[in-house]
């Protein structure tokens, strides 16, 4: 299967400008068999609302709410969990034997589906975060989009920010998510589609999930990892523009930093481990350009300190400045145009976008996080050979480095659901 698919999908440079299209197929949503997996840890009112909405609006969806071993002392969460189970007979409550984190909980749900429904497996499996808010048409549009072509293995929803109005940081993330949606749309038909089918809400073709077997447990960003494997196996992915969903984003700098160090380092690890490079083409180009810029910048600084100067005609520096300003103008105009698609916007969002500086600072914080990820990857690669038998100084240095990176938010394990 994967071999055939890989052979069928050729790498074409014209995809940089003209995205590929795929043959369309008809699909009857009303007769489709769909299962939804909702891993949850300390479920709350949004979890209950999500289950109620799925039951109300999507009569052909079976729901599996998988509690990832929430401590029994959390009585309120336990009450929400039990109430979710009483919403409909289509809701099945599962509980992992021990805390397995998100990928583990998803795999637990998948195993259950494959065991219980083995005679008639669902055609589509949805994965949802437990704090996602959907509309009446979100799931329907998502599934129809997925089943519109036999090539598609997964389709993700649009991302919007539920708590956008909480503070400036959440508003900046709202604007950023608007950009994510635009990037995903731009990447449709480009080297098998967008980089990440996000964990917030994605519809997988069951056949595609069976091809890649399961989610990678212990990985920092299991959604990017499984997307890369799907694309490596020859499946195409895309976003559904008519499927809208909202999620809660970090509302403090500390929480955002923790989330983004996980995303950033997790992304670098995916690229480091990927077997089929075109499946992460966008990131390869992005990281490559970033590194070339860093290296050239270092050379330039060294040259201006130690160099003797040269006979450069001023046209070249002026051309660089002109191209940069041109890029800024095109990019800025596009950002302003994009605002017309931002339904949740208000005057403050317009102000943030027009002002430029807040987004400039925000993106530079993300760049700092990225540089930290490179350093952490380098540190882990260098210290891999240090064992218990190594010299005491080496072990102390490694322990100090690990503590330093941990203090900066960089870890190799996904620990956000363990507390």
């Amino acid at each position: 299967m994967s071999r055939t698919r890989r052979e069928r999908t050729k790498i074409e440079l014209k995809q940089f400008v003209l995205p590929r299209t795929y043959p369309k197929e008809d699909f009857d949503y009303d007769t489709a068999k769909i299962s939804a997996l909702i891993p949850t840890y300390k479920p709350g009112p949004l979890t209950l609302r999500l289950v109620e909405d799925l039951v109300r609006w999507d009569p052909n969806v079976d729901i599996y709410l998988i509690d990832d071993s929430t401590p029994t002392t959390c009585t309120e969460s336990h009450a929400y969990y039990l109430r979710s189970g009483t919403v409909s007979s289509r809701v099945t409550l599962l509980r992992t034997p021990k805390n397995a984190l998100k990928a583990g909980a998803l795999n637990y749900g998948l195993k259950h589906i494959f065991a219980v429904q083995k005679n008639k497996l669902p055609e589509v499996i949805l994965t949802l975060d437990d704090d996602v808010v959907i509309t009446r048409d979100t799931i329907k549009n998502l599934v129809i989009e997925l089943m519109s072509s036999a090539e598609l293995g997964a389709v993700c929803s649009q991302c919007r920010v539920l708590n956008k109005n909480k503070n400036t940081l959440t508003r900046l993330q709202g604007l950023e998510y608007l950009g994510f949606n635009a990037t995903r749309l731009a990447d449709e038909g480009f080297f098998r589609g967008p980089l990440v089918m996000h964990g917030m809400l994605t519809a997988f073709r069951t056949e595609a999930l069976r091809t890649v077997r399961s989610f990678a447990e212990g990985h920092l960003i299991e959604d990017y990892e499984i997307t890369a494997r799907l694309k490596s196996s020859g499946w195409v992915v895309k976003t559904a523009v008519s499927s809208e969903a909202w999620t809660v984003v970090p509302d403090s700098f500390g929480k955002l930093w923790k989330q983004r160090t996980r995303w950033s380092y997790g992304g670098v690890v995916v690229i480091n481990n990927v077997r089929y490079l075109p499946s992460v083409m966008q990131d390869l180009i992005g990281h490559g350009m970033f590194w070339m810029t860093i290296i050239l910048l270092d050379v330039l600084i060294m040259s201006s300190i130690f160099g003797r100067g040269g006979s450069l005609s001023p046209e070249i520096p002026y051309a660089i400045i002109a191209l940069s300003v041109f890029q800024l103008i095109v990019w800025y105009v596009f950002q302003l145009w994009l605002m017309r698609l931002y339904k949740d916007k208000d005057a403050y969002d317009w102000l943030l976008r027009l002002a430029l500086v807040p987004e400039f600072l925000y993106t530079n914080v993300l760049t700092v996080i990225l540089i930290g990820s490179y350093l952490f990857l380098f540190f882990n690669a260098v210290t891999r050979s240090v064992t218990r038998r190594s010299h005491a100084f080496a072990r102390s240095a490694v322990a100090f480095g690990q503590a330093l990176f941990r203090a900066c938010g960089y870890t190799k394990s996904w620990g956000t659901r363990t507390t």
Partner: protein, 73 residues
């Protein structure tokens, strides 16, 4: 690839300010080889941005034809 708004690696504002910084430094240092390298790099950034925009426009139009009104891009 080129993220329109922040994201993982590149942002429009960062590149623009970087270009201004590099251009002004090159005017002082005058190193031809580095200047050409930066010119190639900046051109690549612009081409990537234009290619991404091009794909966005094509996909936006394709999707608008297929999706019902009130949907977003």
């Amino acid at each position: 690839m080129l993220n329109f708004n922040g994201g993982t690696t590149i942002s429009g504002t960062s590149i623009a300010t970087l270009g201004l910084f590099v251009g002004s430094m090159l005017l002082r240092s005058g190193d031809v080889v580095i200047a050409i390298c930066f010119l190639v790099l900046t051109t690549a950034y612009v081409l990537l941005m234009l290619a991404t925009l091009c794909r966005y426009v094509v996909n936006y139009r394709r999707n608008m034809r297929l999706t019902p009104p009130n949907s977003t891009g």
